[in-house]
């Protein structure tokens, strides 16, 4: 419990200091909300809009979660294939790198045209593509980078490639997997959110942010930004908890 408390106060402290500085800056410099809304303004918008915000976060969060799940599964599958077949590795790696470089902004309109814009599908697909690359790259590395002795051990037991995979490569890749997931989780949220900029159902955080920003209602826009930050942190913390829970040996302390 004490441990947990100790891990909470530093970010809270920093947040409080930053927010105070921000508020002070806005008040002292008399910065107008069209430029930079004060935290107090954002907060009042946040709390007055909580209901809508919850609904929007739920919509965008669902998109992000779906995309994260599919993207992760795809990334892992591709990594498994790439590890197993050099040909796949050689073919997929550059493709994945190329695909990863296509900006969401360019991708979304194309996908919106390929899939029904009124559905969630194009947004989930955008998220899948964003999530895929970090998962693929990290998991591939984790699957490949095993200790030579351990590989020899498996070979000496005549483990089939599949068994080597299950008993050695996969557990070895787990810290890499989580590294990838930690990168992918916040990106999934932002992808799901940005995908809403280009039309489609207008109930998510992204739509709300653009609509507020377009009206220079920056207090409201930032309130929604805060909601998306909370959503992103939630995703990240879930991954962290998952790591602690499923792979305790990776987070063992190296110092006594």
């Amino acid at each position: 419990m004490g441990q947990r408390l100790r891990s909470v106060w530093p970010p809270v402290l920093i947040a409080v200091v930053l927010l105070a500085a921000w508020q002070l800056l806005v008040v002292i410099q008399d910065i107008k909300p069209y430029l930079l809304p004060a935290p107090s303004l954002i907060a009042s918008n946040f709390f007055s809009d909580v209901g809508l915000m919850w609904a929007a976060a739920l919509y965008t969060g669902t998109t992000a979660l779906l995309g994260l799940m599919f993207g992760t599964v795809l990334g892992i599958l591709a990594a498994l294939l790439a590890q197993r077949f050099v040909v796949v590795n050689n073919l997929v790696t550059p493709l994945a790198a190329g695909l990863a470089a296509v900006p969401i902004i360019a991708l979304t309109p194309l996908l919106n045209n390929m899939f029904n814009i009124t559905s969630r599908t194009p947004r989930v697909l955008v998220t899948v593509i964003i999530v895929f690359f970090p998962m693929f790259v990290n998991v591939t590395r984790g699957l490949i980078q095993v200790q030579p002795v351990q590989l020899e051990l498996m070979r000496s037991m005549n483990a089939r490639p599949r068994t080597v995979l299950r008993a050695l490569r996969v557990p070895n890749a787990i810290p890499f997997f989580f590294t990838g997931l930690k990168i992918a989780a916040p990106l999934a949220v932002i992808a799901a959110l940005v995908a809403e900029y280009f039309g489609g159902p207008q109930s998510g955080l992204g739509s709300r942010i653009t609509s507020a920003a377009a009206n220079t209602a920056y207090g409201r826009a930032w309130a929604y930004v805060v909601a998306s930050i909370i959503l992103g942190l939630l995703f990240y913390l879930t991954v962290l908890a998952l790591e602690r829970w499923t792979a305790p040996w990776t987070s063992r302390s190296h110092h006594n």
Partner: protein
């Protein structure tokens, strides 16, 4: 010589990958014509590959001197340069953050949430701030221009994957290796440079790959966001506006971005090969 050959082989494989995706594209299109797919495979949504290729040689607008291809190549090259700048800044900042977070446990807990948070702030909220604040900056004779804003945004996207990967990598050395360094009363700096960095490579390299892609994305996105002229991002929006009537054109521009990504990945891969040249074969990617 051997490296050159490997590089050439890599390019061949990349081309093979492109070829396969082209075939898949056309296959899906064809299938869409035969059976009902849950997607729109019409020429407007998924133009034929040859339509795209055909569009490449066309003049950009009627009567203009430059062809679409030339425009895309020039814009990609311009953006790639900005992306490279963003990548370098992003990697430096990401690495620095990772080092600070690794070094001070309370910093990890204190900073990481903000690093995550930074990535969930949509650019729409940031771009005006960055350009707005940027416009007021001038260091001596150097006046901030929007290109710097673009580079800044590219770095902003690039630093995150790197800091997460680097943090994990810096924590990767075995307990014994750390004890060895401790037994030498090695300074944190020495431990960092002589142990943690080399040991972090397996995590650092994939992180750099993701970062490189993020820098490219960031550049394009920022170009679109701020409307900076000359880059591929601007071209994509301009062509996208004609997508109703000329859907193939925008795909060509997108393909330019893909090529940028490929070049960025190739650079990182070359770096990877160089950095891991001394590790056992099994430990190489």
């Amino acid at each position: 010589m051997r490296r050159l050959k490997r590089g050439a082989l890599g390019v061949m494989w990349a081309l093979g990958g492109v070829l396969i995706s082209v075939l898949m594209w056309e296959l899906v299109k064809w299938l869409g014509g035969v059976i009902s797919l849950p997607m729109n495979t019409s020429d407007s949504a998924m133009p034929h590959v040859w339509t795209m290729i055909g569009g490449v040689g066309q003049p950009e607008v009627r009567g203009s001197e430059t062809t679409v291809l030339e425009a895309v190549v020039a814009a990609s090259a311009y953006s790639l340069l900005i992306a490279l700048g963003g990548f370098i800044i992003g990697v430096s900042v990401g690495l620095l953050l990772a080092i600070v977070m690794q070094r001070f446990a309370f910093m990890e807990r204190g900073l990481l949430p903000f690093v995550i948070a930074s990535q969930t702030v949509p650019l729409i909220a940031l771009a005006p701030l960055i350009t707005g604040i940027g416009n007021r900056i001038s260091v001596g004779p150097v006046q901030w221009n929007t290109t710097y804003s673009v580079m800044f945004i590219a770095a902003y996207l690039a630093f995150f994957p790197l800091s997460v990967g680097a943090l994990r990598g810096l924590q990767a050395p075995t307990a014994t290796a750390l004890e060895l360094m401790r037994s030498y009363a090695a300074t944190e700096r020495a431990i960092l440079f002589k142990l943690r960095f080399p040991a972090s490579l397996p995590y650092l390299v994939p992180a750099m790959k993701v970062s490189a892609a993020a820098a490219v994305v960031g550049t394009v996105v920022a170009e679109i966001s701020t409307g900076v002229k000359g880059g591929i991002g601007r071209l994509i929006v301009e062509y996208a506006r004609e997508a109703t009537a000329q859907p193939a054109k925008v795909y060509v521009a997108v393909f330019g971005a893909i090529c940028m990504g490929l070049i960025a990945a190739a650079i990182v891969t070359a770096l990877d090969v160089y950095l891991t040249r001394n590790l056992p074969k099994e430990s190489r990617a």
